[in-house]
């Protein structure tokens, strides 16, 4: 009977030691980059300019190019 207790104790000790081997890794998962929404999709606020349709890349590009030319006083003063 005494021998059995000793064996049981050894089994518990071995099991307790092996628990460490089963621990899940504590490395944080790598943060994934989130996809960014293209600007031609428009902004969800009340500050959008008029003259282009959100979601239409061509109309956004045309609108931006027109606005770009607003920086050219050589074309603005004519």
């Amino acid at each position: 009977m005494k021998f059995n207790f000793k064996t049981l104790g050894l089994c518990f000790a071995a099991a307790a030691l092996l628990v460490a081997c089963s621990e899940p890794p504590e490395i944080a998962p790598k943060a994934a980059k989130r996809p960014d929404v293209a600007p031609y999709m428009g902004a969800n606020n009340g500050f959008m300019t008029k003259g282009w349709a959100p979601g239409n890349q061509t109309s956004w590009t045309e609108s931006i190019d027109k606005r770009n030319q607003g920086q050219n006083e050589n074309s603005r003063v004519k």
Binding site: P39, G42, A43, I64, N68, Q71, N72, N74
Partner: protein, 218 residues
């Protein structure tokens, strides 16, 4: 659409710092962080004092992207270099790599605890919903999604700073240089170096100068 770029015309910049103020105000950039700044050389020397407004140049081959250990940078289809503040660890490598000093960190306390990196976004926000409060609080305004251009360039009183599609702004700058040359200022000057600096749709890759042709180089 080509790539979005800034150019600052040193013949026109009057060091008013309007671009700096506009950027700070519109994006609510915190005290101690300057996404844009005006640099002046030859201060006080008549005829030689020049100022230039500097921010992130949204490099085509950005060194900040290359050195970032957590790979938080990305480039949009418009050529704007942006970063994800949820991934950034604030290590400062990008600050050391950038030749323009664009990456900024909010430093507080006696031991200089550093925040996550902050820089010019070409007024195009970050990886949050366009125009959302979360995007504004982390990255500032998303004017591109509103159909506008960066405020610093749009409000520049002398139009020294122009920003937008590189093809368009290079055309504007080219016209200025040609007019100056025609009117007798800097005769013989040409808008050299543009394609080398910014490239173009069909611009060939620049050929490196052989070391043998550079005096003193090995």
């Amino acid at each position: 659409m080509a790539r979005m770029k800034f150019i600052c015309d040193t013949e026109r910049c009057i060091e008013c710092n309007g671009c700096v103020t506009a950027c700070k105000n519109d994006n609510e950039v915190p005290w101690g962080v300057n996404r844009r700044r005006v640099v002046t050389v030859n201060d006080g020397i008549i005829g030689q004092e020049k100022s230039i407004s500097v921010a992130c140049m949204h490099c085509s081959d950005a060194p900040c992207m290359a050195v970032c250990p957590v790979d938080c940078f990305y480039r949009t289809d418009e050529g704007v270099v942006l970063h994800d503040k949820d991934i950034c660890i604030g290590c400062g490598y990008c600050s050391l790599a950038c030749p323009f000093g664009a990456p900024q960190f909010l430093s507080q306390g006696a031991f200089g605890t550093r925040s996550k990196m902050d820089k010019c976004t070409f007024c195009s926000g970050g990886p949050e919903e366009n125009g959302s409060v979360a995007e504004f609080e982390k990255y500032g305004r998303n004017r591109l999604a509103e159909g506008k251009l960066p405020l610093c360039a749009e409000m520049c009183s002398t139009k020294a700073l122009i920003g937008g599609d590189s093809d368009v702004i290079s055309g504007i700058f080219n016209q200025r240089v040609t007019n100056r040359e025609k009117n007798g200022k800097y005769p013989g000057s040409k808008p050299f170096g543009w394609t080398t600096a910014y490239g173009g749709p069909d611009a060939p890759a620049p050929t490196p100068t052989p070391a043998a042709k550079i005096p003193g180089a090995n």
